[in-house]
């Protein structure tokens, strides 16, 4: 069966068609969906996209950042005010993929992909989706139910962004799929951690928050001794995947090591 592409000027028009046609799928940069079609996925027969220019805009104003869902990884990586996000954006694919892959699409990327989504989770980003706004954490928790939704924006406070730490461990440099990906936003007060958000990629079938490690970090100094309880708790609640890149066992073994490096680095 052939595929058709339908292009709409606004998100609302595209959403209406998606709602009414179960065989239609939303097309962002194409690096996930067209790949499925090329692999012979016949579960959909229509691509739906929107040329809404608002979705391709990056706005940094009033202390907050708003990334349109169609903004590419390359656009994030070269934006002068988003230098803190560049490592996460550059972690995605090679140069050609980064010119295509979008913020919205990365949120749907299955493990071991979706490194940018891990950063957005640590940033506690809010996602504008289907006329509502939900935390990235809630989105990931029930991601499969949003398969027919259109994400418009991801937004987060600029201050959180400036504290972002990001690490992707892969076997091939500079481009390789993730063994583990870790993003963290840690705020210190008087030499001790006052607030911490840590997100893991590849430690489940989607990006997850490391709640136990976050809790164990509060009140501790960022020293080798101080982060020990957090490293000991790092695997709590994880369900790492086994794939061609690494086994679940290996991911569990190296995660605390990389978390330690990220927190002390």
């Amino acid at each position: 069966m052939g595929l058709t592409l339908q292009t709409f000027p606004t998100v609302a028009d595209a959403a209406r068609l998606l709602a009414g046609d179960p065989a239609a799928r939303y097309l962002g940069g194409g690096t996930l969906l067209v790949r499925h079609a090329n692999e012979g996925d016949t579960s959909f027969s229509a691509y739906v996209r929107t040329t809404d220019p608002g979705l391709s805009a990056i706005m940094v104003a009033d202390g907050s950042v708003r990334l349109g869902a169609s903004v590419t990884m390359a656009a994030v990586a070269r934006h002068p005010e988003l230098a803190f996000l560049a490592p996460a954006a550059r972690a995605v694919g090679g140069p050609a993929i980064r010119n295509m892959a979008t913020v919205g699409g990365n949120l749907f990327a299955p493990t071991p992909y979706g490194d940018f989504g891990v950063a957005l989770l640590a940033l506690d980003a809010m996602l504008d989706i289907d006329e509502t706004s939900i935390p990235a954490e809630d989105f990931f928790a029930s991601r499969q139910s949003y398969g027919r939704s259109i994400i418009r924006f991801a937004s987060f406070p600029l201050a959180a962004g400036n504290g972002l730490r990001f690490l992707k461990a892969s076997r091939i440099r500079p481009k390789g799929a993730s063994v583990v990906t870790i993003a963290a936003v840690v705020r210190e007060e008087g030499g001790k951690v006052a607030d911490a958000r840590i997100a893991f990629g590849c430690m489940a079938d989607r990006p997850i928050r490391a709640k136990a490690a976050e809790k164990a970090l509060i009140g501790q100094p960022l020293t080798a001794e101080g982060i020990k309880p957090a490293l000991a708790a790092a695997l709590e609640g994880t369900a790492p995947v086994t794939d061609a890149i690494a086994s679940a066992w290996y991911r569990s073994e190296v995660l605390p090591v990389h978390l330690g490096r990220l927190l002390l680095g």
Binding site: L5, L27, P95, N99
Partner: protein
């Protein structure tokens, strides 16, 4: 099957074709436009052998729908030589044994061109990064890296 018109410029020449809705740019290039330079390797965005420039940006033509290229300027390796004279990148690849089976070469060259168009004097690291989305199973990459660096030096000599 719905046929839709697609118009864009391919290596400076106007292309106007009716294609089946939803076909990829790679399919249009190879099966309609007669440009066989971009190769279909993995069709998954992993190998880079279908790389082309769209409005100056490196893209994967196997994952780009032809209809989204309306009005765009598409460049492929087939358009690089001028009046039978090879582009410095083509010359450097050929002289530096940077091509063996040749399947990855057009993608490698477009990835290299995307780099040199923005950064005429790249470091070795820049080159490695620029071709990181392109897989070569013959050369071990080193001759490719050296060829791109040689082409950048040749460019700077000819500009001087």
């Amino acid at each position: 099957m719905t046929k839709v018109p697609v118009q864009f410029s391919l290596n400076g020449a106007d292309i106007a074709e009716f294609v089946e809705s939803g076909v990829t740019l790679l399919k249009l290039l190879r099966e309609k436009a007669g440009d066989m330079s971009a190769k279909g390797g993995c069709h998954q965005g992993t190998c880079g052998s279908c790389s082309v420039l769209i409005d100056g940006e490196l893209r994967l033509s196997c994952l780009t729908l032809a209809e989204t290229c309306n009005g765009a300027a598409v460049e492929t390796t087939a358009g690089l030589a001028e009046s039978g004279v090879l582009h410095p990148l083509q010359r450097a690849f050929s002289e530096g044994f940077a091509t063996q089976c040749g399947f990855c070469t057009p993608g490698m060259i477009m990835a290299a061109k995307a780099l040199l168009d923005r950064n005429p004097s790249p470091s070795r690291e820049d080159v490695v990064e620029a071709i990181s989305g392109n897989i070569c199973r013959c050369t071990g990459y080193e001759p490719i890296i050296q060829a791109i660096l040689a082409a950048s030096r040749a460019n700077s000599l000819s500009a001087a």
